[in-house]
Symmetry: C2
Amino acid sequence: MDKTTITSIAQTTGFSISTISRVLNGKAEKYRISPKTVEIIEKEASRCNYSPSLIARGLRMNKTHTIGLVVPSIDNPFFANVASVIVREAKNAGYTIVLMDSAESETGETECVRSLLSHRIDGMIVVPCGVSPDYLEKIDQDNIPVVLVDRYFERTRLPYVSTDNFSGAYEATEHLIRHGHKHIVCLQGNPVATPTKNRVAGYLKALSDHGLEQFATIVGNDFSVQNGYGETKLLLASDNRPSALFALSNTIALGAYKAAREAGLTIPDDLSLVCFDNYMYLDYLEPPVTRVAQPIDEIGVLAIKILLRSMEKRDERSSQLLLPPTLLLAKSVRQL
Amino acid sequence: MDKTTITSIAQTTGFSISTISRVLNGKAEKYRISPKTVEIIEKEASRCNYSPSLIARGLRMNKTHTIGLVVPSIDNPFFANVASVIVREAKNAGYTIVLMDSAESETGETECVRSLLSHRIDGMIVVPCGVSPDYLEKIDQDNIPVVLVDRYFERTRLPYVSTDNFSGAYEATEHLIRHGHKHIVCLQGNPVATPTKNRVAGYLKALSDHGLEQFATIVGNDFSVQNGYGETKLLLASDNRPSALFALSNTIALGAYKAAREAGLTIPDDLSLVCFDNYMYLDYLEPPVTRVAQPIDEIGVLAIKILLRSMEKRDERSSQLLLPPTLLLAKSVRQL
DNA sequence: AAACGTTGCACAAACGTTTGTTCAAAAATA
DNA sequence: TATTTTTGAACAAACGTTTGTGCAACGTTT
């Protein structure tokens, strides 16, 4: 049982491969193929379970209907969620996702990107780990559109869609302040990531807007549970314990949570907590955690939309979007 | 700036494309290409940032170095985790993953599979939603190896790798029984999925081995939080409340958790809880939940290993593996 | 009946690779 | 010097598509 191709159908039906191709692509009338012929060919195609070779087509058309997606770690609820949305939206638009995990490393990322280029993807969506947009911009200029998601670069022509991290952090911090907190510590993630920087900035602005600059404290260095745990351990062992923590991710918050519990502290009675990222489980902790939710669905949808538009007409002004987050109130903040 | 191909390099260096190809594939000495020539070509290739077209190569070689992965829902911690491992392992073996989400639907699954076949993937890893292995077996016979993961079929030649769900459930149930529980209700997931069936079987066997058949109660119908929530609500409203719940997934457990809390019940004092699936967050609930952990890493590693082996020599006896789970003790079970 | 428009399809090139075969020139041997 | 061997590389086909063009046969008009 040989693979059935357009050529094999041509042989068994006696028509030429161009005719087969045209029929199977619905261009029968455009090329005046007779209804009889169409029927014969379609019948044969379905009899043989013909499935067109997208790679042959890709080679000929110089278009693979394939989109590359590079995330720092699929095994992270946030990115898994993003990937989920993107896979769905891409499919709706007739595209297929090639998934890469850069493992939070810059070299990992460039490897992924090189591989994607070799696969001749039509465009790519990247959550960058690196600090420079240069090589991605070059790729974009070479006609492989790139869209950044979540993390992005300050000065770049590349389109991106992310959350308005600044205002999200500002709101969260102000929420704490309004509840009487002054000594609020910020547990940050990877300091070079734009989201981190903007969240930290929002946190600082909120403090200074309320004359609390002197309490500003920023600790930590990555988005891991361990980081949240370790930093909180240190904080709680020190002389002047903060009254509230602002964790820049849900993973960091989890670590803080554990450290607080181990110290015998009750949230929110002894320590208040707010974090970034929404996640189902946060509602089931005791107490549920007040958090800044990112509009993941919208982010994914827009990322694909922008990418598709860039793929159509390359001259377009690139969209750089920051979507508004939502503060979800729960019970982890105490009114002092 | 035109795309650089093997042909463009041939033109600028003056050599033929076959020579370029051989040099760039490290077959220089095999074909006695002179060191000088090699150097010239390699220099030019790197100057132009040459990246071979994997789709052209795929067409010629009839091998794309691409593996399809179909999961019911990427946005599910368990499958995200599986995907993560598989992406990593595939990459290590020189393969790239094309990710598909079947959305827990049989038609969604066949669509995904059709698409993958059109993309001419070299093999695929599937977490099947359907009830029949037939069409997948046919694909496997047609020389596109298929490996099942997590869910599988009772009677099939297809290789699979999953958890020994029966013994995991048996152990979990017995754990409850040893703690004095008799009235243990099983909150099941999708009843047609093999894991569900085997877990239920393990649960029943444990009960009957301890002469508790009469307490056997199985409710629910899918792996959602809502299912766990709804069923637990009903249970807790009934006259004879169970003393313990056995949730067949962590999502179901979450729903049960919420319902219990809403009913003002304390776990484990008023109600004991054990569930399937490990997940970071389970340790942070109050109390942490005792659970049956699946060896996800091993599952992913083995799935790729088996797939690669099938791709090499098709005659191989297919491996059907059930890996042992681990009961992780926490604090959600009360000693009666 | 001659000229012409239509209908229905076939031919062939191209996309970027890999690889079996061929072949001239250089080197080695006789 | 004449012959054989070795060296270094080119030629060409093939993978499965799409698409611009060509061209018979048929039908219509004058």
